[in-house]
Structure formats: structure tokens, C-alpha cells
Amino acid sequence: MLKAVSAPTQQRFKLGRVGWSLISLLALVALWEIAALIARSRYLPGPWAVVEVMIREAEAGELWTNIAATLIRVAFSFVIAMFIGSAIGLALGKFKGADLFFDSWLIFFLNLPALVIIVLCYIWFGLTEVAAITAVAVNKIPNVAVTMREGARNLSKDLEEMACVYRFGRWKTLRHVTLPQLAPFFAASARSGLALVWKIVLVVEAFGRSNGVGHQLNIAFQLFDVPMILAYALAFVIVVQIIEMAIVQPLLARANIWRR
């Protein structure tokens, strides 16, 4: 009896990951529509109204130029933050003295509010692109440094000795022994870093730039133009999601191929 029951369950139709995501997203949109219908307010437009604004903005070209401006800032500050943050983190993980000395600095910068860094950068460097990118990068560097420091502390002594006995040399050791061990830490800080950079870039743009998604949101806020706010937010989320799925996840999957 039991066998007869268990056999067909294996044949059962399985909904894939994509299927489940689609269903859950549709549910979210439906919930939004219902909420909009109940509220009947110009401050809570339904999904369709928002999509209309999005299409209008896209046709005017505004949407793309602003998103492109934001993406370029994200790219620059992300690369700079990852580079400098990794260098600091590796140095701290490797040299105990430096770690003892700079640890309190790191804690200070970790807890410094993003807003303070942004405002100070604009005051000190003017309302310039350099100030904007610096502000975002400085916000992100301490997080990267902390994660990479953990990675550097966790480097395997066993593998280092193996590389030493077999005379790998500097370059080979770096490429085949050290960097692969740091890769998960790098991936973790890149992922959380990207999420943080997306958000801070918008604030920086709202404060002191004349283009970008953040600037556009600021204008819409002053006009209380909720459909516009949601249209940009949605477009932005979609772009970020595409980057995540098309670039970040395939890279991670490739890097993890050796794992059991």
C-alpha cells in the first residue's frame, strides 16, 4: 500500500524556481492593486498607472539617461570601494600590529552615518561628481575591509605550507592558493556592497547631483508625484535584478563549481 502511494508522488509535476518567483510576484502585484482600489488615493496609484508613467518616461528618454547616470556612479564607487576596501582588509588581516592600531578607526568609520559622510564630502569637495563618488565609496570601504580582513585571517596555513614545499612562488601561490580562498569573502562583500551602494548613490544624487535616479526621485518628492516615484523605483529594481541575475549569480555559480 505504502509503496503504491509513494510511487506517483515522484512523478508529480514540479514547479521550478522561476515558476514560484513568477507566482509570488503576481501575488504581490495583485495585493498592490487591491490596496490601491481600497485607498482610492492619488498617493497610492495602482500598478497600471505606474507602468504608464514608466513607459512615458522611457519614451521621452528621461528614464534611460537617469538610470545610466546612476549606474555609472554605482560602477565607479563600487570598483573603488572594493579595491581600496580589499587592500585595507588584507593588510589588517595579515599584519597584527596594523590591525591592533587601525581596528578602532575601522569601527569609527563603520558607525559613521552615511549622511554625515555625504554632507561632509559635498562641503569639502564641492557639489561635484568626485565628491559624490567619494562619498559613496567611503561609506562602503569599511564594510569591505571588515569582510576581507576576516578572509585574510582565515587563510589556510596548511595550503600555504604545501605551496612553499612545492615551490609555487609568489604569483602561483596568489593565483591558485590565496585568491581562491578569499573569493567567497570577496563575493560576500561585493554582494552586500552592491546592495549598499545602490541605496547610498540615490541619496548622494538627491543631495547634490542634477541627474540620476536619486535626483529624479527628489524632484518627484517635492511635487508629491507618487506615480513618478514608484515608476523610477520599479525601473531601478528591475535593472538591479537583471544585473544580479545576468552578472552576479552566474559569476558566483562559476566560482563555486568545486563545492560539494
Partner: protein, 243 residues
């Protein structure tokens, strides 16, 4: 490259570990001095924790914080391979890559890898990653990695520990076969007495505590003798005084 031409001299007057985290400074090795004849298979045995691995690390040049000298004489800086207690493979590189990586770039010995992998029975695992194969297989990869170098001097630290008997025995036979292909000088650490008699041409027993050499005996068994269980047992009894 040519095999070692003269005995290498190992002298460790004193090796101690500094006090760390509540543990007092302690002396691990003292007054160790012996020569290793070229082509000999020297087994170092002794109670666990007596400093065998520390000694190998010093000889391998991984630990330079000791008093004494390791002198390879005219052979200078011989090609050393080290098979560790754990396989120590790079998990993010395939079996083949793990073996190939110990060769300098553009080295012709890379052509020997397929044959070597076949010799250790891993032909079909060449493209597998270490975490996807068994521990016994990983140990065989570590053996292949050591032998692809055609080492003049081979260090082994309990390379077959935590394997079941038949697997360990098969690997020992493989080791003997690989060593016989070209003159190789081996320093092999184990606490397995039967294993030491089966493999060694000479056994060094370390004493307990701050270890020094307690006994230094030759093992005059022929290759055929070594596969005879009775002869190995008799020899084991002669050396260790047990059965």
C-alpha cells in the same frame, strides 16, 4: 635530475614551541642527529605528539625556528616532495590541475601526468574536484602530486592514516612501486609499527616527551619478505618487542 649522491645530515639540537595562550613553553625535540643514506627508506616512529611532524616540517624547511642544521651537502637544494598527514589538495582545482601545479610552467614532465594518474587508479577522476572524491582517492592524488616531481627526497607524514586496512595496504604497495622506479630517498613518519617494518630499510624510534632518538635499527628484509605477513611480524617483534 640525479638522485642524492651523499648522505644528508640532520641535526636538531633544540626545538621548542613558545608559550601561547596559557600553554607553557615546551621543548619538543632535543639532541636529534642522524644521517640519511641516499636511496634509503627511513621510517621515524614514536608515540603520538612526540614531535615527529615538527621534525619533518623542520627538514622540509617550513619551520626555521630551531637550533641545529639540515645539510644536504653537495646536493645543495634537492627537489623535495612532501606528502602531508591530510592530502592538502586545492579544493578549487581539479585532480589533474592539483598534480600539474607543482611543476614549473612549461615543464616537460606534464606529459607524464596521465600515465601517473593511471598508475594511482585515478584516470577517470582527472577532471573531478577533490571534495567530490573519497579520502583514499585524495591521498592517491597527493601521492601523484609528490611523484610527478620525480623527487630526490620525499617526506611523508602518516600519509595513510585514517584509511581502512586494504586501502592503506594498496597505497603502501603503490608507494613501494613508485619509489622503485627511480632512486628516491624517503623519510616516512608513522606510528603504525607493522607499516614501519613493511616499508623501512631503517627505523628511528623517538622517545616520549622531549623527543630524542631512542633506537636506530636497520630492517634487513627483502622485497619478498615484506609481503610475507609472518616475516613482517617476526621483524616487528624483534624491533619493538611486541607482536
Amino acid at each position: 635530475m640525479a638522485p642524492l649522491t651523499q648522505p644528508l645530515s640532520i641535526r636538531i639540537d633544540k626545538k621548542s614551541f613558545p608559550a601561547v595562550g596559557g600553554r607553557e613553553q615546551h621543548l619538543v625535540l632535543k639532541g636529534i642527529a642522524f644521517d640519511v643514506e641516499p636511496g634509503s627508506f627511513v621510517v621515524i616512529t614514536g608515540p603520538s605528539g612526540c614531535g615527529k611532524s615538527t621534525m619533518l616540517n623542520i627538514i622540509a624547511g617550513l619551520d626555521e625556528d630551531y637550533e641545529g642544521a639540515i645539510d644536504f651537502g653537495v646536493d645543495g637544494n634537492p627537489r623535495v616532495a612532501y606528502v602531508f598527514q591530510t592530502p592538502r589538495l586545492l579544493p578549487w582545482r581539479t585532480v589533474y590541475e592539483n598534480v600539474a601545479l607543482v611543476l614549473p610552467d612549461g615543464d616537460s614532465r606534464i606529459a607524464n601526468i596521465p600515465e601517473l594518474l593511471q598508475r594511482v587508479g585515478l584516470s577517470s577522476e582527472a577532471a573531478a574536484y577533490p571534495e567530490m572524491i573519497s579520502l583514499g582517492m585524495q591521498r592517491r592524488v597527493a601521492l601523484a602530486r609528490a611523484f610527478v616531481l620525480e623527487p630526490e627526497f620525499l617526506l611523508m607524514d602518516e600519509p595513510f592514516v585514517s584509511l581502512d586496512d586494504p586501502t592503506a595496504q594498496a597505497l603502501r604497495e603503490l608507494l613501494v612501486a613508485l619509489c622503485s622506479r627511480r632512486p628516491t630517498t624517503v623519510l616516512f613518519v608513522t606510528h603504525d609499527r607493522a607499516e614501519s617494518v613493511m616499508l623501512a630499510t631503517r627505523i628511528l624510534r623517538l622517545s616520549e616527551g622531549s623527543a630524542s632518538i631512542a633506537q636506530d635499527v636497520a630492517v634487513p628484509l627483502s622485497v619478498a619478505d615484506r609481503s610475507s605477513r609472518a616475516k613482517v611480524l617476526a621483524e616487528q617483534h624483534r624491533i619493538f618487542g611486541d607482536g
